[in-house]
């Protein structure tokens, strides 16, 4: 890259996490990644930083914090700190402590393998069955629409799991144990968007899409000629029949992207596999007739 710093797609918009940086696949995802138990028993940033460093709470401290109802907007998770892109520094980072919060490697949008396969079978004289399946294996996709639904405090948090955890944390009747468990689950499953951009949003998204299945019937010549035609066929087809998700991607459609076709530039070329602002590819059933004369 000629000494250029890592290039981020999407300008300053923090939710787009594709980067161009040396040593990684084009458009690799970088963002916040929840700290593991080796760094923090309780991965919640609920204590004041000391000297700029994050402080992981003990279970007792966490229970004390959750001895009263807590809105999940009032705390953030503890994430892995980094000294450079994809280089963990062995420390913690969060929105107000540590460094390299958004520099953890989270995956790549380009698949290791992609292709298609299918068959074409003629049977019973005038019938033909066609099928086509496509696949992408070995890549990740960001479920940005899902991140909004799960995590955004204003236009989201309306999934059953978000609502369940939220209600436990703000319920005065919950115990500290219940609130703490809900808060940890929140950090592990729900928390995302700015400032924890990328967290709980980028998933293994291997898929096989049954792209097309069609049944063709060639109407016998004796009938066709009596109608004054040379040939006639009827076709009953289904497109996007079934999506088989092999990874853990929870979004609507791993083929979606926030950008369609556009004219060049970093984002047009590399802002990829980020599902948002759109609807899934629809299933389509068609019945058609083709005649020649």
């Amino acid at each position: 890259m000629g000494g250029a710093p890592p290039l981020k797609t999407g300008g300053t918009y923090p939710r787009y996490r594709n980067f161009l940086t040396v040593g990684y696949a084009p458009a690799a995802f970088f963002g916040a990644k929840l700290a593991g138990s080796d760094l923090a028993e309780i991965p919640l940033n609920i204590l004041a930083p000391v000297g700029g460093e994050c402080v992981a709470p003990t279970r007792q401290q966490a229970l004390e914090y959750f001895s009263q109802p807590r809105d999940p907007s009032s705390f953030k998770p503890l994430a892995i700190g980094n000294s450079d892109f994809g280089t963990p520094n062995g420390k913690l980072a969060s929105h107000n402590c540590g460094s390299g919060l958004l520099d953890s490697y989270l995956g790549k949008p380009t698949p290791d393998f992609a292709g298609s396969f299918g068959f074409n079978i003629a049977f019973a004289g005038n019938f033909e069955l066609n099928s086509l399946l496509e696949y992408k294996l070995g890549h990740q996709v960001q479920d940005l629409s899902g991140m909004f639904r799960r995590a955004n405090g204003f236009i989201g948090r309306n999934t059953p799991r978000s609502a369940e955890l939220y209600s436990i944390m703000v319920n005065p009747a919950s115990s500290a144990e219940q609130r703490l468990d809900a808060a940890v689950s929140w950090a592990e499953e729900i928390e995302g968007l700015s400032p924890m951009s990328g967290m709980n949003g980028i998933y293994d998204a291997d898929w096989v899409q049954w792209r097309e299945l069609s049944l063709v019937y060639r109407i016998p010549t004796s009938f066709v000629e009596s109608w004054g035609l040379s040939t006639a066929t009827m076709n009953l087809g289904v497109r996007n029949l079934k999506l088989f998700m092999l990874g853990d991607y929870p979004g609507m459609d791993p083929e979606g992207n926030v950008l369609g076709r556009c004219n060049g530039g970093l984002s047009c070329n590399f802002l990829d596999s980020t599902e948002g602002w759109g609807i899934p590819v629809p299933r389509r059933v068609t019945l058609s007739t083709r005649v020649t004369f």
Binding site: P5, K8, T12, G52, G98, S99, L102, G153, P195
Partner: protein, 448 residues
């Protein structure tokens, strides 16, 4: 086809291909007359354009950078959907990852670099051609650079003066007063230049901006490293400039101002785009009331003596909306950098800080007289009056957050864990786009 014919045709084809290839070589070896390189703008013919370009970039930058600064204060509030604005509204000022701190940062670098480049280019040209026009260009370049440095010094916690791809070390929070000193130096050069060519109007503009910069320099000392004392500043140099501006503008009654302007032919006002057009932010409810759709429908900030909608607020909001503050407004309103009202408030504060109550009252009343308000005569506490008059006099002029810090004023929206509460005095950080590209800046997010 016999062998001879084949050979003849083949030879002709080879010759044609060779000719074509030679032709292609020449065809691709062209100079595009529309290409411009850096050297092309270092000419006398381009001098004025270079300075105008600097003005456009500086104006654009100011309109971008004032918004995060003011959303963090109690002048603007978040009403939209982008939570990074909300974060600023809550007082999280010191966040290099905030997209709305990060977004304007490159524009600030461009405005700074281009205005310094304009000084360099035109300074060299003045040496070759010391005409009045060229000297005026140089004075303008210094004015625009001075404005950019002043704004950087007013709103940034730190800054790096990088040069193209050469990364510079950060100035350092403790040294940011030097940026304001540099602003004052450039503005002084501008004033001298305008005076030399007899351009009194531009000299007045530069003098007014220098008065502001000098007061901001004094304010910097009060809020760094932490706010101290009663927050009042007394800058004799700012006062001298303010007096000169008032005199040149027509006397104590003159209601004069100096604006950065925006248009479709130059640049849009980014802050207006976000507020008037996109409606992501709006005037704070302590300043203006709003409908359920968050459109302004009245003035909330009242004059403390007459208890009427504050006329200064109406004045600035009318300007902001392009006529009437109840209008939707557009994306090209001007931004005020300095005014005679601001000069009076500088002089009033100097007087109050110096214990000269009569002069304080005099300048407060010059402003009040412009709006037909009842003269101040001790109806409320002097400090209370100063703080109110300062707030309404410099509304939407990129100064409020520092005023809040120095006077210990908190925005109701600030969270107890926010930077503004934990580290009063902290300003906007060097954002992540510069940190990633500048090897001199530690990847350290926790300044506050």
């Amino acid at each position: 086809m016999n062998g001879r014919t084949f050979m003849t045709r083949a030879s002709a084809l080879v010759a044609a291909l060779a000719f074509t290839a030679c032709g292609l070589g020449d065809l691709l070896d062209v100079s595009n007359p529309n290409d411009l390189i850096e050297g092309d703008v270092k000419t006398e013919a381009a001098a004025s354009a270079v300075v105008n370009g600097a003005l456009t970039l500086v104006s654009s930058s100011v309109s971008q950078s004032w918004q995060p600064y003011l959303v963090a204060s109690d002048e603007l509030r978040w009403i939209g959907s982008r939570d990074a604005w909300l974060s600023l509204d809550k007082g999280f000022v010191d966040d290099p990852l905030n997209e709305f701190i990060d977004g304007p940062f490159p524009a600030m670098g461009q405005g700074r670099w281009m205005s310094d480049f304009a000084i360099s280019v035109v300074d060299s040209l003045v040496g070759e051609n010391p005409s009045a026009a060229m000297k005026a260009n140089l004075a303008r370049a210094n004015l625009y650079s001075g404005i950019m440095y002043m704004v950087i010094g007013e709103i940034q916690e730190d800054f790096a003066f990088s040069n193209k791809t050469e990364a510079a070390p950060p100035v350092g929070s403790e040294n940011m007063h030097r940026v304001l000193d540099d602003a004052i130096s450039r503005l002084s050069t501008a004033i001298a230049g305008f005076n030399e060519v007899g351009d009194a109007d531009m000299a007045l503009n530069a003098m007014a901006v220098r008065a502001r910069a000098r007061q901001s320099r004094a304010i910097w000392d009060v809020v760094n490293p932490n706010p101290s004392g009663n927050g009042l500043v007394n800058s004799a140099e700012a006062g001298a400039d303010a007096m000169a501006v008032i005199a040149a503008a027509g006397g104590n009654d003159a209601d004069w101002l100096f604006n950065l302007t925006y248009s479709s032919a130059s640049a849009s006002n980014s802050m207006a785009g976000w507020i008037n057009d996109r409606k992501e932010n709006q005037l704070d409810l302590s300043v203006a009331t709003a409908t359920a759709a968050n459109d302004i429908d009245g003035i909330a900030l009242k004059d403390p003596i007459d208890e009427v909608d504050d006329p200064s607020v109406i004045k600035w909001l009318n300007q902001w909306k392009g006529g009437n503050y109840l209008d939707k407004g557009g994306i090209y309103p001007p931004l005020t950098l300095a005014s005679t009202r601001m000069m009076h408030i500088i002089l009033a504060e100097n007087a109050l800080a110096g214990g000269n109550e009569a002069t304080f009252t005099e300048h407060i009343n010059h402003i009040r007289a412009m709006d037909g308000l009842t003269p101040f005569s001790g109806q409320i506490d002097n400090m209370e009056m100063l703080q109110h008059m300062r707030r309404v006099t410099v509304l939407l002029q990129g100064l409020r957050l520092a005023d809040m810090y120095r006077w210990g004023i908190s925005a109701p929206s600030w969270e107890s864990s926010s930077d503004a509460v934990k580290c009063p005095g902290v300003m906007l950080p060097i954002s992540i786009i510069e940190r990633r590209a500048n090897e001199n800046i530690a990847n350290d997010y926790a300044v506050c």
